[in-house]
């Protein structure tokens, strides 16, 4: 396990991301609401550059058996990472895939020390 300084905190604003090469892998660090997350830039589907995709919300639905009505909700705005190749959706804060229960982006510990963003690989 090795620590890698990726950037200083003022180089990664909220909602932003930095993609960098670490040990031959492309690692992306996201800043979402002041929290930092690091993933491989490698989609579980066909290995597309998932971390380069748009961050959006998603649509969820609920069914009320009393009224037989379906309610749609556009939610989690700013929390869903979409692979630019085929649109596979991941929660950017957990790396969990929304359409496949057992699929998750490989993640790495991120910490801040003396205003520097450090990823452990």
């Amino acid at each position: 396990m090795t620590d890698h300084i990726v950037a200083s905190v003022d180089e990664l604003e909220e909602g932003g991301r930095i993609i960098t090469q670490l040990n031959g892998r492309e690692i992306c660090v996201f800043n979402i609401d002041g929290e930092y997350y690091a993933y491989n830039n490698w989609c579980a589907h066909q290995a597309g550059p998932v971390c380069e995709g748009n961050i959006t919300g998603t649509t969820e639905a609920s069914f009320d058996p009393e009224s037989l009505e379906v309610s749609l909700e556009y939610c989690h705005e700013g929390e869903i990472l979409n692979c630019p190749w085929h649109g596979w959706e991941y929660e950017v804060k957990s790396g969990k895939c929304l359409s496949r229960q057992k699929v998750q982006l490989p993640s790495y510990p991120v910490r801040i020390e003396e205003e520097e963003i450090i990823v452990t690989l």
Partner: protein
Amino acid sequence: MSQQAQRKESIQDTTIVDTDVHLSVPAKEVAKYTDEPYRSHMANTGYAPLPSSGWDRNLAGKIEHYTVQSPEDVQQRLCEEFQIDYPILNATSKLPRLPQSDLAVNLMSAYNDLLIDQYLDEYNHFYGLASLATQKPDKAAEELDRLGDEDQIVGAYIATTGPNPPLGDPEYDILYQAAQDNDIHIAYHGSGGAFMFEFPRQNQSFEKFIEVHTMAHTWSQMMTLSSLLVHGVPEKFPDLNFTFLEAGIGWIPMMMFRLNKEYSIRRSEAPLLKKSPEEYIREFYFASQPIGEANDPTHMKQLIDMVGVDALTFASDYPHWDFDHPDALEQYLSTFDEEGRQKVMYKNASDAFALEL
């Protein structure tokens, strides 16, 4: 080179023919290759000059919108990024849906001239499929005769969502005869764009594109394949190869076995056939994309085994939003020997379109 281009060696070392690569030709660009009054129509209309499905294919910003609008795009984004050695390009899928058959006929030669002039003449390892307007089969036959000497035109692209009557009808025999005479083999391609209009009325009540896109290509290809066999097209034109693009492969065993059963009962309705439908289907070629995504990967391997490594070709469908990377197919080929793998990645496509690799 991006991380995505640094693939495992088996992909990098394998020759790959990609049987389904779509160009995105702006209307104003194809207008340059048309005659008046079609030139003004294509260049100036405020409406989309070609039929459009109206679906939001980019999922409201969730998916990137890729287009291929230059030969350099094909070379860099597909050939170099995906390690494709020989892309087979097609320029438009919309001609058979045009109500204006005179416009469709004029655009047919315009798209084909553009394909040759702007793409095939630029790279020797590019091949192309001639777009055909099916509304006037005699005009399509004339177009195939015109293109017969173009070495890099290896096939004819026929959109299967839209032609009426279905494509086995004898009115198309003149088209198939010209294709066979010119050694231009046939590639059929369904589409989600026309599906809402061309098929039974229930289609028109689908509310989501996911429903349309799940059904459209497969249904179009099943109709085409049934029509070809019942009318005996493979018997009439024995030197013609037939490739089916963009319907995946899950439907193929079902069609083999169901047609076998029907044919046993109703042989007199398909009297030109000399052997079982399955035997004809095993002489056709089928492109892999969109590769199925079974929960159990062994089921995909069984399916590929049923379709057979002699029939399967690789297709990416790049740059469309449901394209497949070569890895998506390659991961299922590990149970086949090296010869089988090579057949699927390039030899079958080479045979289907008589390529000179």
